[in-house]
Symmetry: C2
Subunit: 436 residues, 2 copies
């Protein structure tokens, strides 16, 4: 059973003021914000689906990761299943209106039961929305069907994918839409190359090609425009970042450039802290510019932190999912996570889910072992998901700006700003065939 | 507070079998049904919004009225507000994508507090969906704003509508979309004639022009096609009907034709009853071919019932809303309502709401004074609305065909068949400028 967060996490009282001001501003401009999003989606249609990891420092609310092949659908509040169904129907209407069914392709080597629960939950949503669905495995040998009963009781069958000419098929089923839930960290598998079926989302959005620095560059432009409209400093929504070309941690190439950029970014953050009266120590996060799963992530509080790494640390920064070695890194302003669950003071990080342009819910990733300035999405990280009790689309002007529906509305707004950045990435790959 | 129907009404056990079979068939064909609806909406886009009154006789589940200017939004389960918000956003995307706001025009002479609650609830949904909204009154004198606090605590301001050239304005607000919640029984008010703003739904769908016989003729075609696909007799979904041109009850013109048609229809129904083993007495409902509110409605069990009406009865059949005198009638197969609320055995009639193509919920109109073969939507009729506890979009194949989510799914399917008939009416008026 999914646990529901009946109470919002608490924000360190010291920093609640700026958050309240931001939430109040979102509420006051709600109709303008929605009209602006509507016009934005006409210009740049949203991706099929996405999840956004947010960090709420009270003085700042910002996305730190935007996932275009989201997992975690099993962690959403079942009360909002009808919204997901409706959103999926709208999403297919936009990308593949004649689709009767879809072949869902998840990550390879899927022994992670939490992930399999998410795949099964997603497949269930497709069925509820009235689409025939098969889950196809990139690993399974011909004829070898992997049938599982998951801990939740959900059933999941992974069928081997067959290629017939330029069409994919699984379990004798060859639908017009292929939905990827695989972030293609290892590149485009040959079996997916030059397929005549519609592949959703476009494969060029996989991590073999996508770059966080491009995403956050779009995000920065968007928050500048947005913040000006509603009269706030865009920094309150935007994590500063820098990148510095190719880095080879093992050969220690690019280390000086990295140290310099870290230093510069820390100085910029410190200036912002002074401007906004924040008495925290700035930190940055150094991570792979492409990739996910929190591998190769490092926190730095000074340039010295990235110089003279020992062999183990350097090897860790080089390792990434599916052996993709890190060659580019992004240095991102660290955003403290000052939301804590009141009952045990564990750090909580909101994760927001969207299908098409619709915010369909989310959950708190409640971390039981980590501190406020640590990455909460790490391999083996122990977290408990707590579904949002309310939707993110029903702000209530008669309640306080930090009341549950209003804080969740604010999360939905910031998540959609990141979604819009992803929409611009989609437009880039649609226009050029690859991300610029 | 809205009361929620935590238990489904009971169906007379004698007739539960056919209903179970139909529900099971809908469940078994769910994906085919949804794919068919999706393709249908591409050919004929749905109207902006609608409500459908259903009657469930156990052996038969059919719409008896499709309202394209629905009231009753205050009776929906607040748990589904996020779905309504999402559906409204999709609806505007389809009919007026650049709209930033809407002017909502309700019925005239709106002293009915239940109706005003619905208007206020609808305006609230528009606001939640991120649209600026004003409610404009066709009655108010210039400068005269009618502000009310309704029993629910909702506030409603009715602003006088001003016309400037070919644009309407209210409260200094002149949005690009005018949303009608006025069924135009009395014709198109001059102030609405030749407006440059987009009027939603098209005014040609008002009762001054729309005809039930046209709606049910489309509905008949649709159910023939649909029933064939899922292998059931279309009569199980389709109320038989007849019309016989102009009738003047006061002058007793057309009475013979009416009696003849009533006789013929009763015979057809009796044949169907024999075919399906139903031991009920057939009845028909004679009602105005255009109009609403249950005025001018008569039940007949034999041709004699419509011959030799006394003056009072004839006057009643002539009176209709806004003085629209009845000239055409539709004779419709009466469908018994065999759903009764178990606690007090009151007759319950489901009313299903749709925005765009999405079923957003509904309620039972629980009647406290009427019998199973009576019209439950009559002026002064005393009914208690009981909101559906669950959505109509999450059928559950692991539960019995008559379990709550599955019966509500069946209601949503039949309501959408009526919605599709209305979509064909929209296509007719779009193509020809008036309903054929």
């Amino acid at each position: 059973m999914t646990e529901i967060a009946t109470q919002l996490p608490e924000i360190d009282t010291h920093y609640r003021g700026p958050l309240l001001a931001m939430e109040a501003s979102f509420l006051a401009h709600q109709k303008e914000i929605e009209a602006w999003f509507r016009q934005s989606w006409i210009k740049t249609p949203p991706p099929f689906y996405a999840s956004v990891d947010l960090r709420n420092a009270g003085y700042k609310l910002a996305p730190v990761d935007t996932n275009l092949f989201p997992a975690g659908f099993n962690n959403l509040n079942p009360a909002f299943t009808p919204m997901c169904v409706q959103a999926l129907q709208a999403a297919f209407e936009h990308v593949c209106p004649m689709a009767r069914g879809a072949l869902l392709i998840p990550e390879r080597h899927t022994r992670n039961l939490f992930y399999l629960e998410s795949v099964a939950a997603l497949a269930e949503l497709f069925e509820l929305a009235g689409f025939d669905v098969r889950v196809g495995s990139l690993d399974a040998a011909p004829g070898e069907i992997d049938r599982r009963i998951l801990p939740s009781g959900r059933e999941l069958s992974l069928h081997p994918i067959e290629r017939h000419g330029d069409r994919l098929m699984a379990d004798g089923f060859s639908p017009c839409a292929i939905v990827l839930n695989n972030d293609l960290s290892g590149g485009i598998p040959p079996i997916l190359d030059n397929i005549e079926q519609t592949i959703i989302p476009p494969m060029a959005l996989g991590w073999w090609n996508r770059r966080k620095s491009v995403h956050f560059s779009h995000y920065q432009d968007i928050t500048h425009e947005f913040a000006e409209r509603i009269g706030i400093d865009s920094w309150l929504l935007n994590p500063l970042f820098a990148d510095c070309g190719e880095i080879d941690f093992l050969k220690r190439e690019g280390e000086d450039c990295l140290a310099e950029q870290v230093e510069r970014l820390l100085t910029q953050i410190a200036e912002k802290y002074t401007e906004h009266g924040i008495d925290q120590e700035p930190f940055v996060v150094v991570k792979a510019d492409s990739g996910t799963y929190g591998m190769g992530v490092m926190t730095a509080r000074s340039a010295a932190d990235v110089i003279g790494l020992n062999r183990k640390q350097r090897t860790r920064m080089t390792a990434s999912k599916e052996g993709l070695s890190i060659s580019r890194v992004i240095i991102q302003e660290g955003v403290h996570s000052f939301e804590t669950m009141s009952r045990d003071h564990h750090v909580a990080e909101p994760v927001i889910y969207m299908i098409d342009r619709y915010v369909i819910g989310g959950f708190y990733r409640v971390h039981t072992e980590r501190d406020v300035d640590e990455n909460l999405n790490a391999p083996g990280a122990h977290f408990v998901p707590m579904s949002f009790a309310e939707s993110c689309v029903t702000p209530n002007a008669t309640m306080g700006p930090d009341a549950c529906p209003n804080r969740l509305y604010a999360y939905g707004v910031v998540a959609r700003l990141a979604l819009l950045a992803a929409a611009r990435e989609v437009a880039d790959v649609t226009a050029t065939g690859r991300i610029a």
